[in-house]
């Protein structure tokens, strides 16, 4: 990632390393913290601090699917509050929670850059625009069929 030509501290690999680990495992397990601290030449507290600061990093395994509902202004102007309420009612969990069967993690997200096609959701890394309750149900059902 970083140029070898310049003197870049090992710590600069911490975010990329966390992303790599989470892409592989889905979360950052406890036992990984010490190893990350060693390779990035920082204390374990600093690794924990970084994990805790950024919304992306999680310490628990997520659900099999990840549904993020955009709750930012543009989507609010087009009915995001009702969509988020529908998602919570349908899945039976609050924002930031995972369904009991481990099927879906529901999250609020603040802007997916899809503001011209509001309201938007992201399901497993793919953005969907002009989403209403019916379309959201269809998207969740598609995943179960697959």
């Amino acid at each position: 990632m970083h140029p070898e030509s310049s003197a870049v501290p090992a710590q600069a690999d911490l975010l990329p390393a966390l992303h790599r680990m989470q892409a592989r495992l889905g979360y950052i397990p406890d036992q990984a913290v010490a190893e990350l601290a060693r390779t990035c030449n920082v204390s374990r507290a600093e690794v924990e601090g970084v994990i805790g600061f950024y919304h992306d990093f999680r310490r628990e395994p997520p659900g099999r699917r990840r549904l993020q509902v955009c709750c930012a202004e543009s989507c609010q102007a087009m009915g995001a509050d009702a969509l988020a309420a529908h998602a919570q009612a349908r899945l039976g969990v609050g924002l930031g929670e995972t369904t009991a069967d481990g099927g879906v993690t529901l999250e609020a997200v603040y802007c997916l850059g899809n503001c011209a096609c509001s309201p938007a959701v992201m399901l497993d890394g793919r953005v969907h625009g002009r989403v209403d309750a019916t379309r959201l149900d269809a998207l969740l059902a598609e995943g179960h069929a697959a």
Binding site: M1, H2, P3, S5, S6, A7, V8, P9, Q11, A12, D13, L14, L15, P16, L18, H19, C40, V42, E46, G49, V50, G52, F53, Y54, H55, D56, F57, A72, E73, S74, C75, Q76, A77, M78, V109, Y110, C111, L112, G113, N114, C115, A116, C117, S118, A120, M122, G125, R126, V127, H128, G129, R130
Partner: protein, 520 residues
């Protein structure tokens, strides 16, 4: 001969089914034994018509949209390969008023070709700016930017040439160009469009910045919410290295520039430049106190240019066409164009690149076509979650940095979010405080604690507003503390939406409407 059909690969177009439309076209053409050549272009920015499909008929692009997979057989029946009439027919793309009226400089190539085709980039005028920059002394490149009047497009509007000159004069040694691609403001998507639709333009702008200040290494700090932009940029960097736009021998000049892609991790505050630098360094994204300026002690403590995507993306055009040509657009001290983004409750959402001086009313009604719901537009938030709400009475304000500042508002990154008359402005004010509480980096007290107190105060006002006897003294006092005491714009500008909501829509807060009180 096969007919060329353009279906955008842009993530917003994809979000409303462009990939499925593409497959439907392929299937239908195969079924009919017709030869079509599908091009996955960037978006033209007419998002309300996405998926926006263009068919090339005798050298002219004829548009159809919004196309669903179910429409495809009917479009073939209607003879769209010859530009046939259909309910979705929009005519020649270039003649659609929404596009025709725009002044596309930075977005000149947007949506025309395959974003990753280097031949398309060259044919569209790419590399002309870099070629010119390679012939100029660093100070002369900065002088050209100075002549253009370009100011930071991320929101702060700081003159780009002053920042560059500071880094240029910061002595020799390692320096960096950092592109702030942490576009987190709701209502904004121009950075995403440029990265997905014309990635070499951004890369060329960064290389020119490097030549101007003496930096040979760059970083693009891209938010993790943009996976499609990441994939396109990753590929674009590989191709740019192969084509000599990056690497050890820029266009055969012997000069070098190396570009790294860095992924953010979902922190809005990392769009603040010092927080962003901390993040690349592997730390919590805590805002740094200034001074020292990043221009002198930035990334890894070394002189660093931090510029927004659109700022850097405007540089190639300026070098290719001259600073004076860019400066010829705009008004007062706001020179050139801004790619405005029309979002929220509007009929014709999309990207409108226009010179500064265009009014909100023109953007909302002439381009935007009024609200999507058909109800009156009651409030418009300009400049993202830290921008003020502008009431209908002020829709004739020209989009100009100073005019907006004078009205207690901000142009920001040019995002425009419209709300119809069903909006609850007290809830919007609460949301602004809530967002600040969620996203505050926590370093300074006015922002960290103030935002939480702001939510509490607004919750109490929301509970009591039906009585109509709320008092906003404490909330205004808190806003003043945040405005004056916060370390960065997060806490320092969160009061903008809150105060503007209070000032323009007191009736939503259960505040005795002051004007009527006086009359009574």
């Amino acid at each position: 001969m096969s007919v060329r059909i353009f279906v955008p690969r842009d993530s917003s177009a994809a979000s409303v089914g462009a990939a499925a439309v593409c497959r439907a076209i392929e299937d239908e053409a195969a079924r009919r034994g017709l030869a079509v050549d599908l091009v996955r272009n960037g978006s033209r920015g007419l998002y309300w018509l996405e998926p926006f499909v263009e068919v090339e008929v005798s050298g002219q692009r004829i548009a159809y949209g919004p196309v669903t997979p179910d429409d495809v057989p009917g479009l073939f029946d209607a003879g769209w390969l010859e530009g046939g009439a259909h309910a979705l027919f929009q005519g020649p793309s270039e003649a659609i008023p929404y596009l025709e009226k725009q002044t596309r400089l930075t977005f000149a190539r947007m949506g025309l070709g395959d974003p990753l085709s280097f031949d398309d980039y060259r044919a569209g005028g790419g590399l002309a700016g870099l070629r010119r920059a390679l012939d100029l002394a660093p100070a002369d490149i900065v002088a050209e930017i100075d002549a253009s009047g370009l100011r930071g497009r991320g929101g702060a509007g700081f003159p780009t040439a002053i920042k560059w000159r500071t880094v240029l004069n910061a002595g020799g040694g390692q320096k960096y160009i950092v592109c702030n691609a942490d576009e987190g403001d709701s209502g904004t998507f121009s950075d995403r469009m440029l990265m997905e639709g014309d990635p070499y333009c951004l890369i060329e702008g960064m290389v020119i910045a490097g030549l101007a200040v003496g930096a040979d290494t760059g970083y693009i700090y891209l938010r993790s919410e943009y996976p499609d932009a990441w994939e396109i940029l990753e590929n674009a960097i590989v191709i740019a290295n192969r084509e000599g736009l990056l690497g050890d021998d820029l266009l055969g000049s012997g000069k070098r520039f190396e570009l790294n892609l860095f992924k953010g991790a979902g922190a809005y505050v990392c769009g603040e430049e010092t927080s962003l630098l901390e993040s690349i360094e592997g730390k919590r994204g805590l805002v740094r106190a200034k001074p020292p300026l990043p221009a002198l002690q930035g990334l890894f403590g070394l002189p660093t240019v931090v510029n927004n995507v659109i700022t850097l993306g405007s540089v190639p055009w300026i070098l290719a066409n001259g600073g004076a040509a860019y400066q010829a657009h705009g008004m007062n001290r706001s020179r050139g164009t801004l790619p405005f983004q029309l979002a929220g409750n509007l009929k014709c959402t999309g990207l409108v690149e226009a010179p500064f001086g265009v009014t909100l009313r023109e953007l909302l009604y002439d381009y935007g076509g009024g609200s999507a719901s058909g109800r009156p537009i009651r409030a418009v938030q300009v400049g993202g979650p830290l921008g003020a709400f502008v009431p209908a009475a002020d829709f004739d304000l020209p989009l100009d940095y100073e005019a907006f500042t004078a009205a207690g508002a901000t142009v920001g990154h040019g995002g425009i979010v419209a709300f119809d008359d069903t909006v609850d402005m007290a809830r919007m004010a609460r949301y602004a405080m809530h967002f600040c509480a969620v996203e505050s980096c926590g370093k300074c007290t006015p922002c960290r604690v103030g935002s939480v107190r702001g939510v509490e105060l607004l919750d109490a006002m929301l509970d009591a507003r039906s009585g109509g006897a709320n008092d906003d003294t404490l909330l205004r006092d808190l806003c003043q503390t945040m405005l004056e005491g916060s370390l960065c714009a997060m806490g320092g500008m969160t009061p903008y939406p809150v105060l503007s909501a209070l000032n323009h829509y007191p009736e939503d807060f259960g505040l005795a409407p002051k004007r009527e009180e006086k009359v009574a």
